[in-house]
């Protein structure tokens, strides 16, 4: 659009005066007195000449720096009354419960001097089994988020609890007097006592009703189970009981339902060993390349619109029925193969589906019924209580609000303005509500439009209890006093109901009355309470059978629900009707780090690379690379290459995002992650990406994350994405060694043949060939005491990234921000490399006569579509016994210890970076800047509150020094000290590295190689063992176990 408007700088220009015209090309209007200054001869005669000036300068700099050596007076301020259990310098561990409305886990909180600093899984919790998840490990930093509410808010202004209570109680009484409607919109409540508190509230205000809303909905499963079995529940699954697992659009290893638990269960069937070479088989049908799909033995790529047809067709083929369905063309054959494989494993097969559509889920139920999965690997009788959202009720509430029928709305644990597909409509409807109140502990899109905010405590500041599934009860305890003037929502509700009991007393009383009677044999209530608090969980299937059925909450009557699906025929008809997709299809998905976005303001999670794309700090449009080439988009993501920005439009919703090539993605489909595009949440997350929740939709009575009819624009701009890994394949090298199960059955060393290097030494062997270990330039180290080794089972590593977060948390790893990540300057001590397979290799090149340059270019291109295979490999410092970094350091800042550790001494390092240059694994990280107390890196370390998360046993590094994985030497030293004090050798497993502790699948084991009975020593003798880049001869202390895929010879 051309613009004819003229702008002028001043009156002179408007009038075009001669003086103006004369001087308009000069930078300065007036002449500068340059000659006057340079022509001043007296400067030459001045007594202070340049040399004197330099002398003075030098002297004053020296004097100033010497004076600066004086250390400031430091104070030591002891407690006035020291709490008995706190001993400064010694960590305390408390069992607690993590629940954010989406993820549940029993956790152990490590505190130092009263500050929580590290979260790990609770070994006693049957759900986490001691494992962790990136979002749970990082939740400790969300506690120290300085953008949290510091006091209750009234109309956007800080207030105090007294005024808030009187205002809210007053209004509630008015509304109750006029029989006005009160609604509580809440995330799933798994806390029995919170339910009781809500019940107390609804008793006091009889017009109050509860609407349960899960941002990530699982509603279709309970609707389908209601239709199929008359039980509206979400079942629990046991993947360890299945020999064949089929996942359909279901990321059950990283995000779906109970990922930590599923990962541990599945990995237990995939850790092959020599004695029993058995392994489960994992099949996956999906549109996206999810973490789960990336680990599947066989992966089928379908468009979202085809998935329903595939499910029905699978059912037909399994049972021989003929429900009406659309043909999948070429893919029909693969579905038949899957069907026959499942049929062969009846009773040992399990199918899970992540599509939130009740018709599809109903067919899935029928499939699982046919396969005999119920009772074997699916349990309806021990239902999961963590997802109780009722999608239709939520939509009903919005229309009720729109009609002006709601007088008071309390929002608890959810952010509907952001997560609802019609968030804008909700926002508009909220303005019609007289009393709108949010319990959110930090600002979000919803609190911005609520009149009142009664900020809840963070879970680490709260008393809580939980009943995540039948037979499991859990207690959560605060590990720090509330940092701000916040109050637990349970207390707020009680106060407004006229009950001033505090949360602890209320929960304890509730437990005493309801749960203790079943455990009275254990002793008094105090004994039972203390034991439960100590363990964090109470298990007893029979005793807690009553569960939450006893507490009745008035829930909203659902009006908008579509008629229940009568039988499979009508389900199939519904599926068939929904499969008529037009335009580009879109699915939205969760990233392992950001999830649904409730912790988006957490810099650890923002900087955690996505397991598959390896991109940090952004969401983007995923697209198949060949499709991108057709459209002329840049398919290469690198430091210099910019991604194209496109507009994606569905109806009135438009998102503008960069587009990224994703191998293994269906064509004609794009994927966008939710959790980004946050507003009003804090400096870290504001303005990053766009909100993909707008592309979810409410159909057939549930929120669904697949939609179609998107139109894509051409490139409307360029954008730099920051990825930690921009190359895709192993370029024909054996970095990750792999073999198929069939090969492994024949040969223990399949895929891991001995490496022999040709030498001209006559002394070695007959032909001069030698193993790299035999060729030493240096003398070996003697490890008389300990010899710390680590093994990583590539069959168990699913690439989820929990270890990266826990390493960050344990070792004070700084966050560097998007720009620095783009320059490959991320500081993570532990990275997970992800490699795609390539169709090109040495043999193919030779056969087809491809030239050398072409060959390497093609090697970098991942295999097309379905064929792409993915491997994950965690890489940290390998603690080489002949470490090349050690020999090049000019100041001996990196040295070898008698315990086999490669030590990094920050205070000696002068930052030559020779070591990083010489490291074959590229695991060394350089502090290009000071990342703490630096306004340019305005993350948690530039924040007095955020700094409270730092581990006091680990140095915070400064600018100009190298750093790397230390194998958690602080934990090793602490473990040794405990052993010395007890006059014993450290027991195997007593010392755990942070990554090892957080791993949900126990892929990492760590221990003393000199201890003959240690896990790591036993693993060393496994014939799958190999060392990364063994041919370099650096003899690492970290070793890997080859990846075994359960593929048939035809598939391989």
């Amino acid at each position: 659009m051309s613009n004819t408007k003229k702008y002028w700088k001043g009156i002179e220009e408007l009038k075009a005066t001669p003086e103006f015209l004369q001087s308009k090309n000069n930078e300065f209007i007036e002449d500068l007195p340059v000659d006057e200054f340079l022509g001043n001869d007296s400067i030459v005669d001045t007594s202070t000449n340049r040399r004197d000036f330099l002398k003075f300068l030098g002297f004053s700099v020296t004097a100033a720096s010497l004076a600066a050596c004086e250390t400031p007076v430091r104070k030591a301020i002891p407690y006035l009354n020291k709490p008995e259990e706190i001993l400064p310098g010694v960590a305390n561990f408390y069992a607690s419960t993590y629940w954010d409305g989406n993820d549940y886990s029993g956790v152990i909180v490590k505190t130092r001097e009263g500050r929580p600093i590290f979260i790990e899984g609770n070994d006693l919790c049957p759900i986490s089994n001691g494992g962790s998840h990136a979002r749970i490990g990082a939740s400790v930093l969300s506690l120290y988020d300085s953008s949290r509410y510091k006091a209750p808010q009234i109309s956007g202004k800080e207030s105090d609890w007294k005024s808030l209570d009187s205002a809210v109680s007053g209004k509630l009484n008015d509304i109750a007097a006029g029989s006005g409607a009160i609604r509580i919109l809440t995330s799933t409540i798994i806390s029995p006592s919170q339910k009781a508190a809500v019940a107390e509230f609804t008793t006091k205000y009889p017009t109050a009703q509860v609407v349960t809303y899960d941002a990530i909905s699982y509603n279709a499963i309970s609707i389908a189970n209601n239709a199929s079995f008359g039980k509206a529940v979400i079942p629990t699954y046991d993947f360890s009981k299945a020999e064949v697992v089929l996942g359909i659009s279901c990321d059950f290893l990283a995000n779906w339902l109970s990922p930590i638990e599923h990962a541990r269960q599945l990995s237990s069937t995939r850790k092959v060993n020599v004695e029993d070479k058995k392994m489960s088989r994992h099949l996956q049908i999906e549109s996206n390349l999810s973490v789960t799909g990336a680990n599947a033995d066989k992966r089928v790529v379908l468009k979202p619109s085809q998935i329903g047809s595939a499910v029905v067709s699978l059912y037909n083929k399994l049972t021989g029925s003929s429900l009406s369905t659309k043909s999948l063309d070429k893919k029909d054959a693969i579905i038949s193969e899957i069907a026959s494989e499942l049929n062969k494993n009846k009773g040992k097969a399990l199918v899970v589906c992540g599509i939130n559509d009740s018709a599809i889920q109903q067919v899935i139920n029928a499939i699982n019924m046919h396969l005999g999965a119920y009772g074997n690997s699916i349990f309806l009788d021990t239902p999961d209580f963590t997802k109780q959202g009722n999608d239709a009720a939520v939509m009903g509430l919005v229309s009720e609000m729109n009609a002006g029928k709601v007088d008071a709305l309390f929002i608890h644990g959810v952010n509907p303005v952001y997560t609802l597909p019609n968030g804008e409509a909700f926002k508009a409807a909220l303005s019609k509500v007289d009393l709108s109140l949010s319990f959110s502990d930090r600002p979000d899109e919803t609190t911005a439009v609520c009149k009142y905010v009664a900020p809840d405590n963070h879970y680490l500041e709260s008393w809580s209890d939980a009943n995540p599934r039948k037979g499991v009860l859990a207690l959560g305890q605060p590990t720090i006093n509330p940092l701000f003037s916040t109050r637990q929502s349970i207390e707020s509700l009680l106060i407004w109901s006229g009950n001033t009991t505090n949360a602890h007393d209320y929960i304890a009383k509730y437990w005493e009355l309801n749960f203790y009677p079943s455990f009275a044999t254990l002793g008094g209530f105090a004994t039972f309470w203390n034991k439960s608090l100590h363990d964090g969980v109470v298990l007893n299937n029979a005793q807690i059978a009553q569960d939450l059925g006893t507490i009745k909450i008035t829930t909203i009557p659902v009006t908008e629900v579509s008629a229940p699906i009568a039988d499979l025929n009508s389900a199939a008809a519904l599926i068939s009707a929904a499969s008529n997709a037009k335009g580009t299809e879109v699915f939205v998905y969760q990233k392992t780090g950001i999830g649904n976005g409730n912790q988006a303001n957490n810099p650890w999670l923002q900087e955690l690379p996505d397991p598959i794309s390896k991109v940090t700090w952004d969401n983007y449009v995923l697209m198949n690379p060949s499709e991108m080439e057709d459209k002329g988009f840049n398919t290469i993501n690198g430091q210099v290459q910019e991604a194209d920005i496109i507009d994606v439009t569905i109806g009135s919703n438009k998102l503008t995002l960069p587009v990224l090539a994703q191998p293994g993605l269906a064509k004609g489909v794009i994927g966008i992650a939710v959790g980004y595009g946050r507003e009003n949440v804090g400096k870290t997350a504001n303005g990053i990406g766009a909100n993909a929740f707008k592309f979810t939709q409410f159909i057939n009575g549930t929120f669904q994350s697949e939609t179609s009819g998107a139109t894509l624009s051409g490139s409307v701009g360029k954008y730099h994405l920051a990825a930690t890994q921009t190359h895709h394949t192993m370029m024909g090298r054996q970095i990750v060694k792999e073999a198929t199960l069939e090969e492994y059955k024949k040969d223990n060393k399949a895929g891991n043949e001995d490496l022999l290097l040709a030498t001209n030494l006559k002394t070695i062997g007959k032909d001069g060939k030698a193993a790299p270990k035999e060729l030493n330039l240096w003398e070996s180290f003697e490890n008389k005491n300990h010899f710390w080794n680590m093994s990583i089972d590539l069959n168990a590593c699913f690439g989820c990234g929990a270890c990266v977060v826990s390493c960050t948390s344990e070792n004070n790893v700084p966050v560097v921000g998007k720009d620095e990540v783009r320059r490959s300057r991320e500081m993570h001590w532990l990275r997970i490399d992800r490699y795609y397979s390539s169709d090109m290799n040495e043999e193919v090149a030779e056969k087809e006569g491809v030239g050398a340059i072409d060959k390497f270019l093609k090697m970098e291109i991942p295999s097309a579509n379905d064929n792409v295979e993915v491997v994950f490999q965690p890489v940290m410092c390998q603690h080489c016994n002949h470490a090349p970094c050690e020999t090049v350091c000019p100041v001996l800042a990196t040295t070898h210890s008698l315990e086999g550790l490669n030590q990094m001494t920050y205070n000696r390092c002068i930052g030559t970076r020779y070591c990083a240059n010489n490291c074959p694994y590229k695991v060394r990280r350089f502090n290009w800047f000071r990342y703490n107390e630096n306004a340019q890196f305005d993350f948690n370390m530039n924040d007095d509150l955020g700094k409270m998360v730092l581990n006091p046993d680990v140095t915070v590094r400064s600018r100009g020094v190298m750093e790397k994985c230390s194998m958690c030497v602080q934990r090793i030293q602490a473990g040794k000290l405990v052993a010395k004090k007890n006059s014993e050798r450290p027991k195997d497993g007593a010392i755990k590295t942070a990554c090892q502790k957080s791993c949900p699948t126990n892929a990492i084991s760590f221990g003393d190689f000199n201890d003959m009975n240690s896990q790591v020593r036993k693993t060393w003798n496994n014939e799958r063992k190999y060392q990364l880049l063994e041919e370099v001869g650096v003899q690492p202390s970290v070793f890997y176990l080859t990846k075994i895929r359960n593929k048939t010879s035809k598939e391989a």
Partner: protein, 424 residues
């Protein structure tokens, strides 16, 4: 008041003299377990009792046997005084009332141990050898450094006087000579006029070798001074800042023999020895409300911090923590763990902290430099005896072909000089 104090001191001195005599007579018979008894006393009793006649929280234990003729009663009393009070023993009830009706906590000691401690304390413990000369009747300790200062000033004064005298005399001599020459009519050929600088140059050009040697030494001296100065940057040996409360380690750890661990209770469990919290002070100072040197003033500061009213014995709400000045600090990149050294390494506190029990104001005794740490790690033998952790390791060390008899199993030998032992 002053007189009474003097009188007290006099008595104390005589008691001490008496004790010395008693001690020397008895020491031979008791020395075998007196050390154990002393340790037991220090660990269990010293925070409330003195082995002398002086009262602390409870009565002084000197001559306790005469006050408790029945040993079994005494043992029962020590073991659980609350229980014993119930027997209605007249003396026990009197003691209870005399000492503000505060109960002595029950002691988990065996009969033999209690007897040992009582025997030991009955004779006044290991009575300290009087440090002040016996003729110092007033008990005033001479301020030795001040004395030496005075002498120096006197010497300096004399020196100035003498040099003035020399100057005056030499001027007089010169004028007299001039007068004499004048009278005799001798014309003195004046030496060539030289400024002092010129004359120095003249001398230097005639003594080049000497100048070179002196110059060399001067340069070396300056460099050495500079080097030492730079090494001393950031080293704060003898740093003894004034603390917010004039707490005397000499009084508590020295005179009253309270064990270090009683207050610094983290030393065997944590990386920090820990400065005691104010509630630990109150274990004793709830009763001892007046100190020997500063009276109520300094102890009053603890009460102020805790908002404690010694009259009503009640704590208020306006509590403010005591901000001690940290004496020993290591840089952030150095990890030091007290429990490793004290509990596992069995190092005495005094080895690094010096004679704290004689420090009125505590000071940094050791340089706390890395060289100092390393030296100790080179020389100190690992406390491997009775510690199963080191058992195999020590065997390997001894069986090593490189091992020579007399080689010490030092910290260095097990990797105690490695970077990652302290820096991570």
């Amino acid at each position: 008041m002053f007189q009474t104090l003097q009188y007290m001191r006099h008595i104390k001195a005589s008691i001490q003299k008496l004790l010395v005599i008693l001690f020397t007579i008895l020491v031979t018979s008791t020395v075998s377990y007196s050390q154990d008894a002393a340790k037991l006393f220090k660990g269990n009793c010293a925070s409330c009792h003195k082995p002398t006649a002086a009262k602390l929280v409870g009565p002084g234990l000197l001559g306790i046997k005469s006050r408790w003729p029945d040993q079994t009663k005494l043992i029962a009393w020590v073991k659980n005084s609350t229980e014993f009070l119930k027997t209605g023993d007249a003396y026990a009830t009197k003691l209870y009332n005399d000492y503000g009706q505060s109960v002595m906590p029950a002691q988990a000691l065996s009969d033999a141990e209690i007897i040992a401690v009582i025997d030991w304390a009955d004779k006044g413990g290991d009575a300290p050898v009087p440090t002040t000369p016996t003729d110092n009747k007033d008990g005033v300790v001479q301020n030795a450094p001040a004395e030496s200062n005075n002498t120096m000033y006197i010497l300096l004064g004399i020196g100035v006087l003498l040099s003035v005298l020399i100057f005056v005399l030499s001027t007089v001599k010169k004028s007299l000579e001039a007068l004499l020459n004048d009278k005799k009519g001798i014309v003195v050929v004046p030496k060539p006029e030289r400024t002092p600088l010129q004359s120095f140059r003249y001398w230097a050009s005639n003594n080049k070798k000497l100048v070179a040697i002196i110059g060399l030494f001067a340069v070396i001296w300056v460099l050495k001074q500079g080097w030492d100065g730079l090494l001393g940057v950031g080293v704060y040996t003898d740093y003894a800042p004034e603390q917010p409360i004039k707490f005397s380690h000499k009084l508590h750890a020295g005179d009253n023999q309270i064990a270090c661990v009683y207050c610094h209770s983290g030393v065997e469990k944590s990386k920090h020895a820990n400065i005691p919290s104010a509630n630990v002070c109150m274990n004793c100072h709830a009763y001892i409300q007046e100190g020997p040197t500063y009276g109520k003033e300094e102890i009053g500061k603890i009460y102020a911090a805790l908002d404690y009213n010694p009259e009503t014995r009640k704590y208020g709400t306006n509590q403010k923590p005591i901000e001690w000045i940290r004496v020993h600090s290591l840089p952030d990149h150095a990890y030091f763990n007290h429990s490793q050294h004290v509990k596992v390494g069995k190092i005495e506190c005094t080895q690094c902290h010096g004679p704290v029990d004689s420090m009125e104001v505590v000071k940094q005794y050791s340089p706390l430099t890395m060289g100092w740490c390393i030296n100790c790690h080179r020389e100190t033998e690992v406390a491997f005896k009775d510690n199963k952790y080191y058992e195999d390791l020590h065997k390997k060390f001894v069986n090593d072909p490189k091992y020579k008899k007399g080689d010490k199993f030092t910290v260095e030998k097990i990797g105690g000089l490695e970077c990652s032992k302290c820096h991570y």
